[in-house]
């Protein structure tokens, strides 16, 4: 299978790479959105590895750059960023519909990509599935107990604290520089969105990493954050505490890609899979 490069969109302002396996016409298309400011190949080439593995499994894919990211330009017109994201993904869905006959789509996004995928998935009926990697998260009571209680009960920490205090100062460790961040949306709004998505038959896969331990630190937190909608059979969750936010280790990345592929195969089996 050969990938094709496209300049597309209502102002021909978008750049993307489509992979369409032979015989995949009419299948569910997978669209991968930018992670933060990284261009369409993804952090450490994650999106290339993901889309090619999904192509091999029979799924048409498109990895592309949203307006003003990567190699894509601005479309002109006075759209808000949210409207722009929806319009860009609409352009992407139209391209994959034209190339592969796809009528329904699964969106994949990491961090701000998850936020953008969420925005589109909440409102566009053509989206039948979504993979949110380190999407919205909220520090729940459970998070705080898990985070602070071990520290409060750790004698070594108290010893260090008291020694530093006696010494008259703390360390000068520089604050870590966050590379990606997701602006918070109201939690009730996000819960309502998830409820609406699964209510209309969407399948969701929420994967959170140890790289966002400032906001999320246990598999139980899916339920603590979003409530009973997480028990819906259309929702699958995975907490990978050992990994970082952008899957820098190739083994972690391979397991993530396998996980997404397995979730897709169970929820959106390609034609070859149905015949098997």
């Amino acid at each position: 299978m050969r990938e094709e490069a496209f300049r597309f969109g209502r102002a021909r302002h978008l750049v993307g790479i489509a992979g369409v396996p032979e015989g995949a016409f009419g299948e569910t298309g997978v669209i991968v959105l930018n992670a933060g400011m990284v261009h369409r190949i993804g952090p450490f080439r994650l999106h290339v590895e993901l889309t090619r593995q999904l192509n091999a499994a029979g799924y048409p894919t498109l990895r592309f750059d949203l307006s003003t990211l990567g190699d894509s330009g601005a479309s002109g017109g006075g759209l808000t960023r949210t409207q722009q994201v929806c319009a860009d993904v609409d352009d992407a869905m139209k391209l994959l519909a034209e190339r592969a006959g796809c009528q329904r789509f699964v969106l994949v996004g990491l961090c701000s990509g998850a936020q953008n995928a969420h925005t589109v998935a909440a409102s566009d009926p053509r989206v039948s599935g979504a993979v949110f990697l380190d999407g919205y998260a909220y520090r729940t009571l459970g998070y705080k107990l898990r985070h602070y209680l071990p520290r409060v009960l750790d004698p070594a920490r108290w010893t260090r604290f008291l020694r530093q205090r006696a010494g008259g100062g703390g360390t000068d460790k520089p604050a870590p520089e966050p590379v990606f961040s997701v602006a918070p949306a109201p939690r009730e709004e996000v819960i309502a969105d998830f409820t609406g998505m699964v209510g209309r038959g969407m399948k969701l896969y929420l994967v959170y990493s140890g790289g966002i331990s400032y906001a999320f630190n246990h598999a139980r937190q899916f339920r603590e954050c979003f409530g009973k909608v997480m028990d819906h059979p259309g929702v699958t969750t995975s907490y990978r505490s050992e990994t970082d936010h952008t899957y820098i280790l190739t083994g972690d990345r391979a397991r993530l890609v396998d996980g997404i592929g397995g979730w897709l195969a169970r929820n959106f089996p390609p034609a070859a899979g149905r015949q098997a």
């Binding site: 300049r7 021909r12 790479i17 990284v38 952090p43 450490f44 505490s241 050992e242 280790l249 190739t250």
Partner: protein, 258 residues
Amino acid sequence: MRTDPELPFFFGADSGLFGMYHAPASTPRRAVLMCPPLGQELIRTHRLYRQLAQALAAQGIAVLRFDYHGTGDSAGDSAEVDWQRCIGDAVTAAGELRSRAGVDRIVAFGARLGGSIALGAADRARFAEVIAWDPVIDGDDYVSALDTMQAALREDADRFNQPRTHADVAEQWLGFDIGDSLRKQIAALKVTPANVPTLVLDSMPAGAAPRWEPLVSTRGRVAAIAPPTPWNDLRRLEAAILSHPLIQAVTGRMAEDA
């Protein structure tokens, strides 16, 4: 037929190389081939490469950006990246640029290992000049730096909740699988001067710059760029590298030739 100022396409023998052609508004008389670095440096410099390509195109210069086999959007896995193939891909890309732009004279630009590849490909690709930004001229030092950062990554508390095992981080450099042959090829790398004029743009941190003189002793020069570029800072591994002075230096050099 509609002509886009920036055209993405695949090229090469198996249509496996990804390229982005920047066409100037008028018929070009000069062209620049932009050779990317490898690994995470390719991702960190993507935006800067695009900005530079656009600035050069605005000067009436045809520009081709591209990805080597196993990198970026090109075909192949990261573990398949091969030094000689990278040089061959640069030669292929130069041919593609000549064909698209209708221009024979090509200047090559490259950052870090991209600069080294441009120098290594200069003869076969018939580059008229090479502009190399902090090129790697001693591969052994480069390998040591990557190994040091990869070892530090294993227990980077800003990234992992618990230190990872040695096996977890083995045979990789900062996010990319690394084949044993590429490791050996880069470790053995000793870049020699190209037989063409060479401009070295030096933004290495103080004390880290190698001796550039051998590269430019016959036909070339070195120009300093400030501030220093943090190529080897693990804390900024995922921060884009942007440099207005670099764009000014390259566009300024090309303007001298206009």
